[in-house]
């Protein structure tokens, strides 16, 4: 029996040898760069000594997790991470929908195309350039915003040094950068609505506002629900780069998030144990949220994204 199973496998390998050969480099890539780091998570439970290898340090159990939970930064990091992901969702979620509704109504084809081309553009600009533009526009010495404020006879504001401004700047620039590109999926959804439902609406004499409320929005509701649930899944997963490029010591109070803290502790401070522990904590929360969002989506729409 064992032998026939083995020869069966050999036969399969022989039949699919070229497919196996093709996948071999990919397998090696995933093995080295995705799976090989995974045991490194054990560092979170050790007093890791660089150079002594993965099992060279003393096992300390949950020491780093406890130390992090008791540190005075714990709640601050949790709150900042949540808010910097949640505010763009709260204030920005409806904007791509509104924009998509408007763009599809534009009759002039050239202008329609132009509006789409322009508003998608910021999505492809690097975070460094976006952050650089923000910092330079808001600069108290030569930024255009402060020049304007001074011209209006008000006092200049040192935006990037004020903790009170960070979330506003982060959220509004995030919406500015992403609303156009996010609208693509809604435009596609609106374009795929069966035109017949509008014909019946016209016979009933509905005006454009009623048409929007009673015909268009209900038709794209599934798309809206899926995207909303998916973004809720990402609500503890704020991008590292933009925070890292925009924050500074003066604004840690409102700007420091889990990923930037891990970077400072681990890469800059070489405290590998606690940094790995916090990173693991962050990915566990993210995983849990994504998983529940996916589950909810499946429940709500009878289909899953993956």
């Amino acid at each position: 029996m064992v032998k026939s199973k083995f020869s069966n496998l050999l036969m399969l390998i022989k039949r699919d040898k070229y497919l196996l050969l093709m996948f071999l480099p990919i397998f090696l890539y995933y093995f080295v760069f995705m799976y090989l780091p995974m045991p490194g998570i054990l560092i979170a439970f050790q007093d890791f000594i660089p150079g002594k290898g993965l099992f060279g340090g003393e096992w300390v159990g949950l020491k780093w997790f406890v130390q992090f939970a008791e540190s005075r930064y714990f709640w601050r990091l949790l709150r900042n991470t949540f808010l910097l992901a949640f505010y763009p969702l709260l204030f920005g979620f409806s904007i791509p929908i509104l924009f998509a509704i408007c763009v599809v109504e534009i009759k002039n084809r050239t202008f329609k195309r132009f509006a789409q081309t322009i508003t998608y553009l910021p999505h492809f600009i690097s975070t460094v350039v976006i952050a650089g533009m923000i910092i330079n526009f808001l600069s108290p010495t030569d930024g255009i915003v402060n020049t304007l404020i001074a011209k209006l006879g008000m006092e200049k504001i040192n935006f990037m040094m004020e903790p009170g401004w960070f979330r506003t700047i982060f959220t509004s620039s995030d919406i500015w950068q992403s609303f156009g590109f996010s609208s693509i999926i809604y435009i596609a959804a609106i374009m795929s609505i069966d035109p017949e439902i509008y014909d019946s609406g016209k016979i009933d004499g509905v005006n454009k506002f009623q048409e929007l409320w009673h015909l268009t929005l209900p038709s794209i509701k599934p798309t809206i629900v899926i995207l909303l649930l998916l973004s809720l899944g990402g609500v503890m997963n704020v991008g590292f780069e933009k925070v890292y490029l925009l924050y500074n010591g003066a604004t840690y109070e409102t700007a420091d998030v889990l990923s930037t803290y891990v970077y400072r502790m681990g890469i800059e401070g070489q405290n590998f144990g606690i940094a790995t522990a916090i990173g693991l904590f962050n990915s566990l929360i993210t995983f849990l949220l994504v998983f529940s969002a996916n589950w909810l989506t499946r429940r709500a729409t009878n289909m899953s994204l993956w």
Partner: protein, 293 residues
């Protein structure tokens, strides 16, 4: 048929919102470009609000004199070209076996790659692995750790799956094996999808800042994004002085403002130039990702 008052209000709002969106998006870019093309004295007097005042290319001359921008530009092009080429090749190699229904490891390997979308070792373990492998301060660190992006492999896999099986069957009768089938038959058919993925990968490499921040300490290997961060965000005085050359100290602050804005334009120019032509592919890519049930 005349439109009612309400409908006209509706269309008025539609155009108003669209125009507002365009202006808000476009203005920062126009302002940056105008500053980069204006004379230092008019910038100093704060005369530039929309269009360039006293048009000049002095700012560009100053920035392009600086050797570091050429080095980092070259590096970014290297990372983008080599990276994207490898990405597309590897994405095809990954996606094709996973799309073949008869492949006996198909389900297992699909799970093998999909698992990494949900779970990873995290920043510190990856950092330590890369250092151990000796990739720190090596050009290949910008390319090898992102040989493929799993989500893109899945897009490519769906494209291969949508090819009718009869095409492969008849090729198989003619004696073609899987490697020939991939490159002679499958790749030409999914060219539009590969175009989209090429663009996604290329933009990723052009904008990649994080890998360079972590793994490239050597200045002559650093890409444009690291250079930009120094000029725009850390506003390193030594760079500013080198670039500003022999200008008087009072003019220095203003000319560095121009240097910063010129650097932005120079770095996003390739994207702005190619982007309008490839925009329709991006849109296609999004819908590709969305419908792949």
């Amino acid at each position: 048929m005349r439109k009612s008052m309400t409908d006209r209000t509706y269309y008025g709002l539609v155009y108003l919102i669209t125009i507002l969106a365009v202006v808000v998006t476009l203005y920062p870019f126009i302002y940056v470009i105008s500053i980069s093309l204006s004379s230092v004295s008019s910038i100093d007097k704060q005369l530039v609000t929309l269009f360039p005042v006293e048009f000049t290319l002095e700012g560009y001359k100053m920035v392009l004199q600086y050797p570091e921008i050429w080095t980092s530009y070259y590096n970014t092009i290297w990372y983008t070209v080599v990276g994207t080429t490898l990405n597309i090749f590897a994405t095809c190699l990954a996606a094709f076996p996973l799309s073949r229904a008869r492949f006996f490891l198909r389900r297992k390997l699909n799970f093998f790659i999909a698992f990494t979308m949900y779970f990873s070792g995290g920043l510190i373990p990856l950092y330590m692995l890369i250092t151990t492998l000796g990739l720190y301060n090596s050009r290949w660190v910008m390319v090898l750790p992102v040989l493929v992006i799993t989500f893109n492999v899945m897009i490519c896999r769906s494209a291969f799956e949508s090819i009718p099986n009869e095409i492969f069957e008849s090729a198989s009768l003619d004696g073609a094996h899987d490697i020939t089938m991939l490159f002679r038959i499958a790749v030409p058919i999914v060219k539009p999808t590969l175009a989209v993925l090429t663009l996604y990968y290329a933009v990723f490499h052009w904008n990649n800042f994080f890998s360079a921040l972590l793994y490239l300490g050597k200045q002559d290997l650093q890409p444009l994004q690291i250079f930009l961060r120094r000029v725009l965000i850390m506003a390193s005085p030594e760079i500013m002085q080198k670039m500003g050359g022999g200008t008087a100290t009072s003019a220095l602050a203003i000319s560095t403002l121009q240097v910063r804005y010129v650097s932005i334009v120079v770095s996003i120019l390739p994207i702005i130039m190619f982007y309008p032509f490839i925009q329709r592919y991006f849109v296609k890519g999004i819908t590709l990702g969305a419908v792949k049930g």
